[in-house]
């Protein structure tokens, strides 16, 4: 049995070995150098996709890291007499450090996504190119590599460069594969779709982005190191060329930048096309055709080739089933009695936005196992309080503790790992991840230390619990609002939170769906979770809550049993006006 499972792997190893030894066959140098270029572009575009494709931070500065690698190798070999192979680790490390430095500054900016990050990285390229040109690193004359000895790994020099390019290409693809199938990759995909939500689900977004950026730049640098030997004569205008970032983007976008092997496919197709035209003497026409392909790809295949094929296959394989969401059975087990232990303690919580005070010193205790309804007129600070407790906003002053631990100033992902989960009023699923992947992500990052297989079972359990069974492989776009709201719940529950913050789970649902959702919240409580929920549908608040807290103008206004609070003349007057209360 093992043999059949290992067969593909054995085949892959053999194929890789055969590819590596290809130069032994003494093919004309033309083949070595063509294949080297294919590997070169595969490595560059795949490394670009690690940050820009996976996490969605579009960089136009890949040439900066690649070029830095080229010059590290060129300078160390020609000016310091290092052996060529010894320079490669440095050629990888320096660009990676540069990326860490850039990332540590720019990833803290608020509105960085999109074209600003693209232009910023592009500018870095120009600055680095100018510095290299004007300092002894290059000095303006270019660098000849012909005197640098090449290790004789293969019978011919082109064969040796082919082999090095091939090894880097294999390593790059292995890294991309590994990342795509790890927590890092899961986190990056989540950052791509919705960075705030990723952070709230426990993904350490800053660290992940830096890791991806450094990996991406490091690989590009190493590729540059080898390319220095391939090029032979190095000039800044030749290395820091606009075509590098643009071809890399083109190849990745064409193949599918979110897939680990998409960029490789794009790179192979484009390089072959370009090479065919160059050898046919029609290089210019080739560029134009590539441009036409890019336009068509963006207009008709915005996600790239690989995802398009996948979608098409999925459509052929499955008849989409549109089973209605299962009704949640009423819970018979009585809720656990509420103890006196305080789980969430809020003291003097204040939040200001510029001159506007959204929370003006809120004190609130939530007991272990209770359902606390949080209500109040528009703008009274309910959602702000949820955002403060979950860490989306930092407190201006005051303190928030969960089970005795101060969380008021922790980043959101740390709070999530301490057992606080939230839902969003308007569901914010990761749109490019299936229902199962959405829940697995939350299960895995909300509980660090659990094995992936375990989180999968956990996720499946909560998908069933919320009545979404059978929709595991559906993308969120295929769900209706009711189901997306329940997906929010499944994601929150799978983190096994001590404290669950629900932001208007019922809004937008029709009456039958509301009843179903109320049953679900009861069922969640029966499992022992403590729930704070913001809700405008008062019927449900009164029905569900053990206690109700009324906020008004950023302050706690009333607290107590639902029916008493909602009949309190002071509360009636803030909702309906003084005359009505009388």
């Amino acid at each position: 049995m093992n043999a059949t499972r290992d067969l593909p792997r054995l085949g892959a190893v053999l194929a890789v070995g055969a590819m590596a030894l290809l130069p032994m066959a003494q093919l004309p140098a033309f083949y070595d150098s063509f294949l080297y270029l294919v590997f070169f572009w595969i490595s560059l575009s795949t490394s670009w996709a690690l940050l820009s494709g996976f996490a969605g931070y579009f960089s136009l500065g890949h040439a900066a890291f690649f070029g830095l690698g080229v010059y590290v190798t060129a300078d160390l070999t020609t000016k310091f007499g290092w052996p060529f192979l010894a320079t490669l680790p440095v050629a990888a490390a320096l660009p990676a450090l540069l990326a860490l430095g850039i990332g540590a500054i720019v990833f803290r900016l608020r509105r960085l996504r999109g074209e600003l990050f693209a232009l910023l990285t592009l500018s870095v390229t120009f600055v680095i190119a100018t510095i290299i040109l004007n300092t002894p690193i290059d000095g303006g004359g270019g660098i000849f590599m012909s005197a640098v000895p090449l290790p004789e790994l293969m019978p011919t020099p082109t064969g040796t460069i082919y082999l090095l390019g091939f090894i880097l290409c294999v390593i790059t693809l292995l890294i991309a594969w590994k990342v795509a199938h790890s927590r890092l990759g899961m986190g990056l995909f989540a950052i791509h779709d919705d960075e705030d939500v990723a952070e709230a689900k426990g993904v350490p977004t800053l660290r992940y982005k830096l890791t991806a950026f450094a990996l991406s730049a490091g690989i590009a640098g190493a590729v540059g190191g080898v390319h220095a030997m391939y090029v032979g004569f190095i000039t800044t205008s030749g290395i820091f060329e606009l075509t590098v970032p643009l071809y890399v983007v083109l190849m990745s976008v064409l193949g599918g930048a979110r897939s680990w092997f998409g960029p490789a496919i794009g790179a192979t197709v484009i390089t072959t096309l370009l090479y065919a035209f160059i050898s046919g003497g029609e290089a210019m026409v080739g560029r134009a055709i590539v441009a036409v392909i890019l336009i068509s790809a963006i207009l008709w295949l915005p996600d790239g080739f690989v995802p398009a094929v996948r979608k098409w296959l999925a459509k052929r394989r499955r008849v989409p089933l549109s089973a209605p969401i299962a009704e949640v059975a009423p819970v018979v087990t009585p809720a656990k009695p509420i103890g006196d232990t305080v789980l969430l303690q809020v003291r003097g919580a204040t939040k200001r936005f510029g001159g506007l005070q959204a929370l003006g010193g809120v004190d609130l205790d939530v007991r272990q196992g209770e359902i606390l309804g949080l209500v109040g007129p528009n703008g009274s600070g309910k959602t702000t309080l949820i955002n403060v407790v979950s860490g989306f906003y930092a407190l201006t002053s005051g303190s928030v503790t969960v089970a005795g631990v101060e969380i008021g100033r922790l980043p959101a992902h740390e709070i999530a790992r301490r057992g606080v989960a939230r839902t969003y009023q308007i569901p914010r699923p990761f749109v490019n991840m299936t229902v199962l992947e959405n829940v697995v992500l939350a299960a895995s990052f909300g509980n660090p230390g659990r094995a992936v297989a375990e989180t999968r079972d956990e996720a499946l359990h909560w998908i069933g619990f919320t009545g979404l069974a059978g929709k595991e492989d559906v993308l969120p776009a295929g769900l209706n609002l009711h189901e997306r709201k329940f997906l929010e719940l499944a994601r929150a529950l799978s983190a096994k939170p001590k404290l669950l913050l629900l932001d208007e789970v019922l809004s937008g649902l029709n009456p039958a769906e509301v009843d179903n959702a109320i049953r679900l919240v009861r069922a969640i409580r029966a499992q022992g979770a403590t729930i704070v929920f913001v809700e405008h549908l008062m019927r449900a608040v009164v029905e569900l809550s053990d206690r109700v807290a009324v906020l008004n103008e950023g302050k706690l206004f009333a607290l107590g049993a639902p029916r008493d609070v909602m009949r309190d003349p002071r509360v009636v007057s803030i909702y309906l006006g003084k005359a009505y209360a009388a």
């Binding site: 500018s123 441009a291 207009l299």
Partner: protein
Amino acid sequence: MPSATLLGQALISGILSGGLYGLLAMGLSLSWGLLRLVNLSHFALAFLAAYLVYELGTNYHVAPWWSAAMIVPAMFAIGVAQHWLFDKFKVNELASLLITFSFAVILEVGIQLYWTADFRRFETQYSTKSIKAGPFFIPILDLTMCIVAGLLAWGTWLWLRRTYVGKALRAAAEDPDIAAAYGVNHKRLAYLLSGIGAGYAGIAGTFIALIATLAPAEIWAYLGVVFAVVIIGRLGNPLGALLAGLLIGASESLAMAVLAPAWAPVVSFSVLIVILLWDPEWL
């Protein structure tokens, strides 16, 4: 340290060449700031216009302003056609960047196939004329370009400020839904603005033909600097684009005089990076 006269001459020629940056930046700034479309092909359109002026001037002896009078409306039509594509496919900022890059490549290839990769220079009787002001020389073509750029920037600024169409465009850039609720047909105005932006590329191209040496690869030479100018001058503000262009031109030229010519790019990009990191509201 170079002499005061040399620095003064550097400053003057820097400001004058900054006028071209400003002229190129204006169209980009309008479409990026008011339509949220980043048009990389702007440079290629400008060079296409420049080559046409060159062709008409050298082979058919058409005066550059007559060429411009024909080319600018043609560019307007190209801008409208481009926008039709963006509109039909509901293209976002990033996609517009990649698509217009491809346009630029196609135009570059077209130019190279027709006019070859050789350097071309359009000589007119004005090419070498200049005004002497004290110890300084001011080339009249560069001066004319700066005056045209100034008039254009000022006119466009007034148009955006004073006319209903201009106000509607600015309003729609802030909140298209509310603007529509007050009767603004943003789609139609967007076509107009795209056409105008491309028309500006035509005007810039006319001056490129007159003062610069043409080669297909030169299309990309202005890209980085002009983007820096667009952002420094505030998106959607033609007057800001021109002033930023003059500022960058002057500082580049001074950097060349004081340091070495090759250090010039660091100036504009350092300014740009600082502004991006400062992350002001108006970006």
